[in-house]
């Protein structure tokens, strides 16, 4: 177990190093100069100021020197300061991660809560009307990009029914849980559609196999109720794949909220990352990318470990 953990951790560090280097190199390839992004076009005639800013930001140093400096600082927990806003990158992440995390978690929860019964019941009624309807629903959910779903939800729940706000974010600390959920539910639902469909299909497929096992037939022969059999005897062995996928999806959702945050104008990491890209805010892009990558690989690691805990056969291997 210890060896497995050490190997995974080493891989994690290597992955993060590669991500940071690639991000840096990619941003370096962008044409132009961050200094010009700091200034309005009409101020670009002031070469003296442009030169002073370049020197202050140490942009004259060779790329590798700047990368080395950034990595050294990052290892000490200092992700630097935004070129554009002067805000510390760590502060920007700290301020925005609650929004992105909540969205990702809420989407995961919505997907899980709906996918389990849909998958289980579809398997139980394999080929039946419910199964066919759900098959259409999951196919549609997978085909519709989250941003299209988002626009549809805004049209339906905001413009038509006026039940929920289309934009803005109520922080729990300011306005309480209910007000917060009111602003979170639409974007989270839009995000949840694809994972919901994937998980419902996975659970359905796994359960169809499980329901053909002898011990299920035996349970049926004992006269146990269908719901009890499904939830108690069939779901648990059918859930390993789903657990893995939920974990991976959660990591992906952290990065995947970018578009949704932009559409719903939410103050999350995605919105900040997009602004950073538009503004050539190199330190902000690097900091947020590294953070998202860290969350992704850590969640992956946790899922792997969970797998080890849940399935003794893997531990023994």
């Amino acid at each position: 177990m210890g060896k497995i953990l050490a190997a995974r951790l080493a891989r994690l560090v290597a992955t993060l190093f590669a991500v940071s280097l690639l991000t840096f190199l990619l941003v370096e390839q962008l044409p132009g100069d961050p200094v010009t992004a700091l200034l309005p076009p009409e101020a670009l005639h002031d070469l003296e100021t442009m030169e002073r800013i370049r020197t202050e930001l140490r942009l004259d140093d060779p790329a590798l020197v700047r990368y080395g400096r950034w990595v050294t600082d990052a290892l000490q927990g200092d992700l630097g300061k935004s070129y554009i806003t002067d805000q510390r990158v760590a502060d920007a992440i700290r301020d925005r991660i609650p929004v992105t995390m909540e969205l990702a978690l809420l989407a995961t929860v919505i997907a899980a809560v709906l996918a389990i019964p849909i998958g289980a019941f579809s398997a139980y009624r394999e080929g039946g009307r419910f199964d066919r309807v759900m098959s259409v629903f999951t196919t549609a959910s997978l085909s519709i990009p989250a941003f299209v779903a988002a626009i549809f939800f805004i049209w339906l729940f905001t413009l038509k029914f006026n039940w929920l706000p289309s934009t803005g974010w109520n922080r729990i600390t300011d306005k309480g849980l209910l007000a917060n959920l009111k602003t979170a539910i639409l974007p989270a639902s839009a995000l949840a559609l694809a994972p919901l469909a994937i998980n419902a299909r996975l659970i359905r497929a796994d359960m169809i196999g499980t329901l053909k096992e002898d011990y299920i037939l035996s349970a049926r022969a004992k006269g146990l109720r269908s719901r009890y059999i499904l939830m108690r005897h069939a779901l648990r062995p059918s859930s390993l794949t789903a657990i893995t996928i939920f974990g991976l999806q959660f990591g992906a959702l952290i990065g995947g909220t970018v578009v949704i945050e932009t559409i719903f104008a939410l103050p999350g990491l995605g919105t900040r990352l997009i602004s950073g890209i538009y503004q050539r805010d190199v330190t902000m892009i690097q900091g947020i990318t590294l953070f998202v990558a860290t969350v992704y690989v850590v969640v992956n690691l946790l899922v792997d470990l969970l797998y080890l805990l849940l399935d003794p056969r893997i531990r023994r291997q």
Partner: protein, 616 residues
Amino acid sequence: MNKSWLKIIAPLFTVALIAAACGGSDSDSGSSSSSDAASSTETEAEEETEAETTEKAEEVIEAGTEAEGDVDTKVEAVVEESSYGGSVIIGLEAEATGLRPWEDACSSPCLVMMKAMIDTMVERRADGTYGPWLAKSWSANEGYTEWTFELQEGVLFHNGYSFNAKTLVDMFELQKVGAVAAGVVSAAKVGEVVAVDNYTVKYVLTGAHSAFPSFLYGVGLGGVFEPNAANEDFDGFSMNPIGTGPFMMDKRDLDNETIVARNPNYWMSDEDGNQLPYLDSVAFRPIPDEGTRLDSLLSGTTTMMQTLRQGTIRDARAAKADGADITLFEFQGNNVGGGMFNNSIPPYDDVRVRKGLTHMNNQDAVIEALGGTGISLPGSQWFSPDSPWYSEKAAAAWPKFDFDAGKALVAEYVNDPDRSDGRAVGDKIEVELSCPPDPTLILAIQVIEQLWSASGMVDVNLTNYDQQTHINYALGAPPDFNGSHGAHCWRWSSNDDPSTFLNTQFAPPTLGIAAAYGLDGIFSPINFPNYFDIEMFGWLVGAISTDVFEERYALYEMVMMRLARDVPVWYSGHTATLLAAETNILGVNGWLLPDGSLGAGFPAAIARWGQVFIQN
């Protein structure tokens, strides 16, 4: 539910809720100091203002800032009864990257926010002239090198400090080195700021500038901030700016919501003596997606919105026609879309190519592709027909859509054995046509591409890069700053005094060109088209050496005529902008200057909040 599922989901959900709860509501930044300073008068002011109403003058002035079509608002004095209280929630195009007037680049959405907290020295009137704001009056010496301003007295900053001449002297120390203000300082040629007495300040310029007060309209040099607070917390000022404006920072939650609250000590009153502002607060919400921003207004999530996109204006008009209870404050100023040719490289260095391509450009079709038909007026110069600087003569001289004439001009170049691109006679010219990747801009350049290609003499290579890269390609790199662009989408002009943009944009583009004309050291990297005409430059310099409008008009007319002759740039349509609001929000279009003259309204969708009110 199965317990193992609960075991997994419950901790995850708990972590999310804890994270959400612990996360900053981003500084309620505070202005604790400002609140403290203001608290003694707050209750008093509230009592005074409670249920107070006032009748407004019934004067209606048509300022002629309308776009074409079904526009229902004009810049005009408000006739409705104003009242105190209430809040406005406005959806903005983007978040302000910072709110330090001297340091942070500030475009339209940022200015909507900044103008609530930061007053400027002068303001613009509906007729295009500059009038008093924090500066009561001004005068210049004979050579326009020294400008003396008399300041309003009894003005307090949000933190309780007084505004006086020394404030401007101290501000100048920061402006001289400010990332944004330093460029304005050099363009305006400000050498020194001197406090003559407590409420008189003198700007000493290093060269003549007869339109100098126009620089004090912009927030870069004219935005008045509290220098002590800025020096004490340079970075923090960005989140909590201290000005003399009608509202003070209440809460700044970046990328989510910024709320400004009524400044009870604001120095301005309306013409009946009622203290401004009327509103209790204004909330600014950045909503980058155009459709969602409009939907937010239509659903009541917000009560106002801004847009600079013709397509959104079209959608807002449609929503209104469908019965939406909104007012559309449309403004069409000088700002004109279009593009430029890089005059320093072939084939654009030949006027036959530039003029030919412009003749082949169907302006109406381009405006339609941009979604601006009936919204955006076709451009023929840097001034819209409503501008006092507009020239009929220049409009007539502009090469309008005439495909055959354009084809003939390009053919002349193509068949010229001495053509500048060095290609064989009869070979097509190669044009790189580039725009930022906005869907409507792409449609527009596709229209141009089809027209140019249809001539059979032009190979068009369409490219698009994000906004910043697009600018960087046009800017280029030292020492020449020639850029690597060809035919490049761009916007021209503004509603400011023409000198503020024309003099820098048509100065010598390189040091070499400057030296060749004996203008050593006078060069401008933001001469993006790399076009220089010594005679035209002389007219531009002449226009800042006189303050006689007719003389200046004649010079700018000659400049526009020269641009129509040499075609270094081309135009599509003037950019209409929109502030849309629930119908009970009034005062957006009818604010007054301290001398009672009518303000410029809502140019570039930038509202002035001090006189906005909600009708009971």
